[in-house]
C-alpha cells in the first residue's frame, strides 16, 4: 500500500509538471503575437507606399516599437482657426489590440457621405479589427436620439454636429461630450472658391459680384435642417457680419437634394448647400456663393456618454485610435489622388459613382475640436431660442479632448 501511495504522488507531480510546461508554452505563444500591431499597420496601408514605410519602421522595433512613433509634434495643434490640421505619419497611431475583444455600437444618421469616411473606412478596411474591436453600426439614429440611447449605455458612440440638442442634453445633466472632430473644407472662408456654403440666386442682389447679404432680409432661406442644427451657426455668422439676423429671414426646411431645384425655381432665394450637391450650382452665373463654413472649425464629430468615455475608457481610446489612424493613412491631404482605391470602397458603400467624390475638392479630416466653436454656436442658438438655458456652457463641459490626446500621445495625453 505504501509503495502504491508513493507512485500516486509521483504520477500527480508528473502531471502537474506536464501542465506547467503546456501552460508556459501557451504563454510564450501569446507574447509572441504581441508585435502584430506593427504588422497590422503595414497591412492597413495596402498599396500606399508611405503607409508601408512608416509601419515597417514600426515593425523594425518588434515588441519594443513605439506605437506612437509616427505621431510627432504635428499630432497636436494649438486649436487656432489658422492652424495646420493635426496629422501623424500614415499607419499611426499603430494598433494596440485590446486583450479582450470588445464590442462597440456606433449610431449614426449618416453613412457613406464623404465626412463619414473615417469610420466607414475604418470598418471596411479592418482598422477597428486591428484594435480587437467589433463595431456594430446602427443607422437612422439622429444625434438627439443617440444621446438618449447613450445615457443608458445602449449605444456607445454617436455621430452628429455640435447642435442645440447636445447642449440642451448637457444642460439637463446628461454625461454626453464630444470626443473627436470631423472635418472642415480646406478653402473655408474663401467665397471665390466653389464649396459647401450659403448659395443664393444672383438676381437677389443688386450687384451679384459683390453680394450684400442685407438684401436677403425678408426672403426665404432653404435649409435641410431646423434652427437647432449647427449649420445655422455659420449661416448666422455670415448674416451677423452683414448686420442681419437669421431670424429676419423665412426659413424653409427642404430636403438637401431638393435645394438646388428650390433655388432654381425661386421657392427660396438662398440655401445652405452641402457636398456634393453644391456642384450642381457651381459655374452657373445664376447662383453665387455668399458664405462658407468658418475656417479651421470642425462643426461636428462623434459623441459619447460617460458609459463609454469613462467606464470603458480603454475601448474608447482604441476606437478613436483606429479613426485617427484611418485619417492619417487613407484620408490625409491628397487622398483624392493617392487613395482612390479606398475612395472606391466608400463609393461602393454609398452606392454612388466614384466621381461623386473625386469631382469635388478634398475635405480636411480633423480629429481635433477647435477652440470656441461650441461657445460661439451656443451664442447663436440662444438668439434662435432653441436652448433651454440662459448661460453659455463652457467648452470643457462639452468637449472631452483627452481621448484623442491619449490616442496620439499615450496615457499621459
Amino acid at each position: 500500500m505504501r509503495g502504491t501511495r508513493k507512485d500516486w504522488w509521483l504520477k500527480i507531480l508528473g502531471l502537474l509538471l506536464v501542465f506547467a510546461v503546456i501552460a508556459s508554452a501557451c504563454g510564450d505563444d501569446d507574447e509572441g503575437s504581441d508585435p502584430e500591431p506593427g504588422d497590422d499597420a503595414s497591412d492597413s496601408s495596402g498599396d500606399d507606399s508611405s503607409g508601408d514605410d512608416s509601419s515597417d519602421d514600426g515593425d523594425d522595433g518588434g515588441e519594443d516599437a513605439d506605437p506612437l512613433a509616427g505621431c510627432g509634434e504635428g499630432a497636436v495643434t494649438d486649436l487656432s482657426p489658422d492652424r495646420d490640421v493635426a496629422r501623424c505619419e500614415p499607419g499611426y497611431p499603430a494598433p494596440q489590440p485590446l486583450e479582450e475583444r470588445a464590442s462597440v455600437r456606433l449610431a449614426t444618421n449618416f453613412w457613406g457621405f464623404e465626412f463619414t469616411a473615417p469610420y466607414v473606412l475604418a470598418l471596411e478596411l479592418g482598422e477597428f479589427e486591428k484594435e480587437n474591436l467589433d463595431v456594430e453600426v446602427v443607422t437612422g439614429v439622429s444625434l438627439a436620439d443617440g444621446i438618449v440611447q447613450m445615457e443608458d449605455c445602449t449605444v456607445d458612440i454617436t455621430v452628429g454636429g455640435t447642435e442645440a440638442s447636445l447642449h440642451n442634453g448637457i444642460s439637463a445633466g446628461l454625461t454626453v461630450k464630444q470626443v473627436i472632430g470631423n472635418y472642415f473644407p480646406p478653402d473655408a472662408g474663401d467665397t471665390s472658391i466653389d464649396q459647401t456654403g450659403l448659395w443664393a440666386r444672383a438676381d437677389a442682389f443688386t450687384n451679384p459680384d459683390d453680394p450684400d447679404l442685407t438684401e436677403l432680409e425678408g426672403t426665404t432661406l432653404g435649409t435641410a435642417v431646423a434652427l437647432g442644427s449647427v449649420i445655422n451657426y455659420p449661416i448666422g455668422l455670415a448674416f451677423q457680419e452683414a448686420g442681419v439676423s437669421l431670424l429676419d429671414l423665412d426659413l424653409e426646411v427642404i430636403p438637401s437634394a431638393d435645394l438646388p431645384l428650390a433655388l432654381e425655381n425661386g421657392a427660396v432665394q438662398s440655401a445652405w448647400v452641402l457636398d456634393p450637391i453644391w456642384s450642381q450650382l457651381a459655374d452657373n452665373p445664376d447662383f453665387v456663393l455668399v458664405a462658407t463654413q468658418p475656417p479651421g472649425e470642425a462643426l461636428g464629430g462623434l459623441y459619447a456618454s460617460s458609459c463609454f468615455r469613462e467606464d470603458r475608457r480603454e475601448v474608447a481610446v482604441a476606437f478613436i485610435r483606429a479613426l485617427i489612424r484611418t485619417m492619417n493613412t487613407y484620408l490625409a491631404e491628397g487622398y483624392k489622388t493617392n487613395n482612390v482605391e479606398e475612395l472606391q470602397v466608400l463609393a461602393d458603400v454609398a452606392d454612388i459613382p466614384l466621381e461623386a467624390f473625386t469631382g469635388t475638392p478634398e475635405t480636411l479630416m480633423d480629429w481635433e475640436m477647435g477652440e470656441g466653436t461650441s461657445e460661439r454656436a451656443q451664442g447663436f442658438f440662444m438668439e434662435y431660442g432653441v436652448l433651454e438655458y440662459d448661460e453659455i456652457i463652457p467648452e470643457d463641459q462639452v468637449y472631452d479632448r483627452s481621448i484623442y490626446l491619449e490616442a496620439v500621445r499615450g496615457p499621459e495625453g
Binding site: 439622429s142 438627439a144 436620439d145 444621446i147 438618449v148 445615457e151 443608458d152 442645440a164 440638442s165 447636445l166 440642451n168 442634453g169 439637463a172 445633466g173 446628461l174 431646423a226 437647432g228 426659413l251 424653409e252 426646411v253 427642404i254 428650390a262 421657392a267 432653441v386 433651454e388
Partner: protein, 298 residues
C-alpha cells in the same frame, strides 16, 4: 329549470306561475338613470385620473418597470410638468396650435364634403358606382403619407400639400361610410316612398338622407380622429411652418422632452375635442339617431 332573474320568483301558490317584481330601474327610474350616469361619469373621469396618478408616481419615484424600462426624469415629463409647462404660456406655442387646427379644419371640410358628395352619388347610382368603385378602392389602400412627396411636387412647399393630404385621407373614410349608409337604407323604405309617387329629390330628401345620416356621421367621427392622425404625421415629416407635429419634432431634435410631451398631449386633446364637436353636430342634425352610434369614439 333554475330561475336566473333576481327580480322574478316562483310563486308559492303554484309551480308554473311566475311573479316578476319591479327592479330599481322601474321603481325609481329617475334615480336609477341618475346613478347610472354618475357611475359612467365616475368611470370616465376616474380611469384616466388613476392612470395619470400612476404616471405621476412613476415619474416622481423613477420606477424601474420590469427591471428594463427606467422612468428617467430627464427624458420623461410628468403630467404635472405638462400641465404647468412654461411652453403653454408662449405665444409661439399657441400659434402652432392654431396652425394645426386651421389645417385640420380646412382639410377635413374639403375631404368630408367631397366624400359625402361622391359617396351619395355612388350609393344612389349603380353606374357611378361601377365607374368609380374599383379605382377608389385601389387608392384607398395606398398609405396616404406616401403621397406626400407627390403632393410636394404638385403643390410646392406651402400649406397646400399638408391640407390636401388631410383632405384626401378624410375623403376615403367619409366616402366609404356614406356609400355604405345609402346602400343600407332598407328597400322597404324606398318601396313605401315610391308607392306615394315621390320624385328623385323627394326620395333623397325624405328617405335616403334621413336613413343614412346616422351612419354618415359615424364615418365623419372616425374621419375626424384620422384627420388629427394624418395632420400630426405630415407635420412630423415636414416640420417647417409650424404645427403641433412640428412642436413634437422640435422637442425631439432639440432634446426638450417637455415640449414633445406637451405636443403629444395637445394632439390628443385636439383629437378628442374635434371628435366631440363632430358628434355634437351630429346630435343636433339627427336627433332621431341612437345617442352613441360610433363604437369606441367620443
Amino acid at each position: 329549470m333554475t330561475n336566473t332573474d333576481p327580480n322574478t320568483t316562483v310563486d308559492k301558490r303554484g309551480p308554473r306561475v311566475l311573479r316578476r317584481e319591479p327592479g330599481v330601474a322601474e321603481i325609481k327610474p329617475r334615480a336609477h338613470v341618475r346613478n347610472r350616469k354618475a357611475a359612467e361619469r365616475a368611470l370616465a373621469i376616474g380611469v384616466p385620473a388613476a392612470l395619470l396618478l400612476l404616471w405621476q408616481l412613476a415619474h416622481h419615484y423613477e420606477w424601474n418597470l420590469l427591471g428594463y424600462w427606467k422612468i428617467d426624469q430627464r427624458f420623461y415629463a410628468s403630467p404635472y410638468e405638462i400641465v404647468t409647462s412654461e411652453k403653454l404660456r408662449e405665444a409661439d406655442f399657441w400659434r402652432d396650435v392654431w396652425t394645426s387646427t386651421r389645417r385640420m379644419l380646412i382639410g377635413f371640410a374639403l375631404g368630408a364634403g367631397a366624400g359625402v358628395f361622391i359617396g351619395l352619388a355612388m350609393g344612389m347610382s349603380r353606374l357611378v358606382r361601377a365607374a368609380l368603385d374599383p379605382l377608389l378602392t385601389a387608392l384607398y389602400t395606398v398609405p396616404k403619407l406616401a403621397l406626400l412627396p407627390l403632393f410636394l411636387t404638385i403643390f410646392g412647399f406651402d400649406e397646400r400639400p399638408r391640407v390636401m393630404l388631410i383632405a384626401v385621407t378624410v375623403f376615403f373614410f367619409v366616402w366609404i361610410s356614406t356609400m355604405a349608409a345609402i346602400m343600407a337604407v332598407p328597400e322597404g323604405y324606398r318601396e313605401a316612398a315610391m308607392s306615394f309617387g315621390v320624385s328623385r329629390w323627394q326620395m333623397f330628401r325624405h328617405v335616403l338622407l334621413p336613413g343614412s345620416l346616422p351612419q354618415i356621421f359615424v364615418g365623419l367621427r372616425i374621419a375626424a380622429g384620422v384627420a388629427v392622425l394624418i395632420l400630426i404625421g405630415v407635420e412630423l415629416v415636414i416640420p417647417s411652418q409650424g404645427g403641433i407635429g412640428s412642436l413634437i419634432e422640435r422637442g425631439r431634435t432639440l432634446l426638450i422632452p417637455e415640449l414633445t410631451y406637451v405636443g403629444i398631449a395637445l394632439a390628443a386633446l385636439l383629437g378628442l375635442l374635434f371628435t366631440l364637436v363632430v358628434r355634437w353636430i351630429g346630435r343636433l342634425l339627427i336627433p332621431w339617431a341612437p345617442e352613441d352610434n360610433a363604437p369606441g369614439q367620443g
